[in-house]
């Protein structure tokens, strides 16, 4: 079920009506049923996989706590079962195809039967969330839960089940265990946030997708059209994924929950590290806490730090998809994090200078790096990728520059709300707690809500596409 559908609207209203009429324990039952209905809406068998993952992780996590002497074994069971699910559904085809290609390159007539199956939506998200819980129990950072219902709700919490934010037990699970209170002011904020998410998705991301797909449909794309297409994708992916997160957070707020932030205006990043502190924050913090730090983090020799960074980012790339372009994308960011680290050590004055010009240069470089990265992310055909990367700007036809100019101007116009949001959020949010209950705040939010809803009605793209991150 997708957030921008009428189906979801009906589903959410029904869930909310039943949910708020119940007491705490019954509310959790409602949430669990809703989670499985939501997840199995298209393919009911997805629910079986989700249920099996939940059950294995719940039982083994208890064993970790109950049998300290064998806790490593039980953690291994959890990691093995989760990563087997991921490997089977997400990576099996990729590995067998590459194995066959290698064997054929060695002159062997290899033929492995292709094993293609539908990737269950959100499997990368909920397996990572479940693994995080198990590792936290193993480390003693959280206690193993004894209530299967609460734990199942934590794994199958529908607002963030399919595309995150990837939650932690100490944030979401404790909210599942606590009673929730209906707060009309929070509901108002939530509806506003949901509207903003819908506008980002239907007006900005879906329009950008049209032009991005056009640019990437060309077999003879030139330099200006490649990069205009990348700019369209830059707008599309940010608007699309942050829209999902906004709608997820809004749905959770309606249920009395608070989900983590997943984005902090990544277009404003001033370094590769800063970008990763702002983009898909729940995933980058997951990799930081469960891969980078266990590998030794940055408290080791320089060589090992480089290794740790590269492993973390290559894995992060692989997490996004079973394709070489994603691994390349992860590697691209890993390399730039390493280079930037050296730059910061070599020129700390410039790297940390808060002056306008140094900030502008750092921002510009990071923005360019981000967009080169997006080209790797978007283009799955490696031959095309090489051709696009090496496109010569001086041989591009004049008409292509005109088209690229049009695409770029259009993306600038459509991204104005995103820039405004980046500029206004901080000053507005700092005063919002005081403003919210006043008539001034009320009128401001009402006016904003009307404008957003009008934008949604009058500017939505005629063609709606799935959320990009659903495929991961």
């Amino acid at each position: 079920m997708i957030f921008q559908s009428i189906d979801y609207l009906v589903f959410l209203v029904c869930v909310l009506a039943i949910y708020w009429a119940m007491r705490h324990r019954a509310q959790n039952v409602v949430l669990l049923i809703a989670g499985y209905v939501f997840y199995g809406y298209v393919h009911p068998w997805y629910g079986i996989l989700l249920g099996a993952t939940t059950l294995v992780d719940f039982v083994c996590s208890r064993k970790i706590e109950d049998e300290p002497a064998r806790k490593r074994f039980w953690l291994g069971c959890i990691l093995l079962s989760n990563f087997t699910v991921l490997a089977t559904f997400k990576y099996f085809g990729f590995f067998t195809e590459n194995l066959v290609a290698i064997l054929q390159a060695m002159g062997m007539n290899a033929s492995v039967p292709l094993f293609k199956m539908l990737l269950p939506a959100g499997v990368s998200f909920y397996t990572f969330q479940s693994c995080a819980y198990a590792v936290d129990v193993y480390r003693g950072d959280t206690r193993a839960r004894r209530n299967l219902l609460d734990y199942s709700v934590y794994v199958a919490f529908f607002p963030q089940l399919v595309a995150g934010p990837i939650e932690r037990a100490d944030h979401l699970l404790v909210q599942v265990e606590r009673p929730r209170r209906f707060n009309a002011t929070v509901v108002r904020d939530a509806l506003f946030l949901f509207l903003w998410g819908l506008v980002k998705k239907r007006v900005i991301a879906d329009t950008a997708a049209l032009y991005c797909n056009k640019a990437f449909s060309l077999g003879d794309s030139s330099f200006p059209l490649v990069w205009a297409g990348v700019l369209c994708f830059c707008v599309q992916i940010y608007a699309d994924f942050s829209a999902y997160t906004d709608m997820a957070r809004a749905s959770a707020k309606l249920l009395g929950f608070d989900l983590r932030q997943n984005f902090n205006h990544p277009w404003l990043a001033q370094s590769p590290a800063d970008f990763w502190r702002r983009w898909h924050m729940s995933l980058s913090s997951w990799f930081r806490d469960y891969v980078f730090i266990p590998l030794g983090g940055s408290r080791c020799s320089e060589g090992k730090i480089v290794r740790n960074l590269m492993i973390t980012f290559l894995l992060s790339g692989l997490w996004h998809g079973a394709s070489w372009n994603f691994i390349l994308w992860g590697g691209w960011w890993g390399v730039w994090l390493v280079i930037w680290r050296q730059f910061e050590r070599g020129a700390p004055g410039f790297a940390k200078n808060k002056g306008a010009l140094p900030s502008l240069i750092r921002w510009g470089v990071t923005f360019v790096l981000m967009n080169i990265g997006w080209l790797m992310f978007r283009e799955q055909n490696l031959h095309e990728l090489v051709r696009q990367m090496t496109a010569n700007p001086f041989t591009a036809p004049k008409d292509d520059w005109h088209i690229a100019g049009f695409f770029t101007a259009l993306m600038v116009l459509y991204s104005i709300p995103l820039w405004l949001h980046a500029a206004l959020e901080k000053p507005l949010l700092s005063r919002w707690e005081d403003l919210r209950d006043t008539w001034k705040g009320f009128m401001l939010q009402t006016l904003g809500g009307i404008v957003l809803f009008l934008l949604l009605l009058l500017m939505s793209s005629k063609v709606s596409s799935d959320f990009i991150y659903f495929q991961f």
Binding site: S5, V10, W20, Q27, F182, T185, A409, L457, M459
Partner: protein, 376 residues
Amino acid sequence: MSPSPHASGMAAAAPRENRGVGRLLIWAALCFAVPAVLPRVVKPKKEPVAASAQRSTVAMEVRDVPRTIAELQAANPDYIAIGNSMLYTRLGKTPEKMNALTGKKFFFIVRNGSSSAAWYLSLKNIVAASGVKPKLVFFFIRDNDITSPFFRTAGDYAVYLNSLRGPEEPVLDAILGKAPQRQGPAGSLGRLLNGPGGLYHFPDWDEKLPRQVIDLAMDIGAVGTPKTALRSTLSSRFALEHLRPDLGADTPAPGSGDGYAPDGYSDLIGNYQEAEERSFLPAMMETAKEHGLKLLFFRIKRRPDNKGVVSDESPALREYARHLQKWIEEHGGLFFDETYDASIPASIYQDGDHVGEKHMDWYRASFWKRTAGLFP
């Protein structure tokens, strides 16, 4: 007041929060009512049909109907072909080579990805409206696309359809208005909100604002290039020959929403009667009869396997084609199906069902040889 863990969430609301509930209701009422009223009160300036037809949300190909009519009248052809890439990757984008081959005068109305709704409008609003009397109007069809009325009528395709529309299109609106509707509460709510006459349905505003943003982007991004010229550049730059082979193949992916069996019509291959009744085919035959035109429906051979056999041609589809032929011939039209023609080998196909450019001369000659008897 601190709520008891067992208290219902709603019951635990404090008096101060009741005020919050009141504000929430006022907020929601204003946010959802004002946008329902405002676009009904403030009407956009009406644009002439021709001007709006020239604009597109993605600035792709649109048809300038008056210009095409003028070209058609000037050409006064013997034969008119209407179709999509199935036509122009076989006979060509322009008719010169067919004219040279046959010594007759052809006129092509071609558009990438066009389908039966667009062909019907082309026949009625261009061919019939022109007053030209060709000896034959022929359509290149594939599978059951001629009886799949909703196929390629949304999104980009709707823009092209709109460019072909006349002031009143009762047949088109009636058929497309019968699009299978979703049942259940989600379907009802959807119709209530943005169905025709729904709470948030604003036909006067249709695409108005997005178009203005596009025009502004054209002015800013392509300084010195007139918008009409830029639209024409866009149209040719994203034409089929520039697309990646896998995208240009025009083979709709299953479940992509671009397939041959739009929602609710997946079973029509085996139920020809219903397909015929709900398609544009009767209206096309009626238009032809009214204007003294003879129609030929040429069903192309889909890409065969190495033995020359079309593996996609299921028994149901074979039965469908038989019914289609019978119906068309009973209503005074002509039908030609090359699906089982063994003389068309797999080697001439380039991508999907398209014939490769270097084989088009051969195909044209073969086409003319096989169908010359049908061309008066």
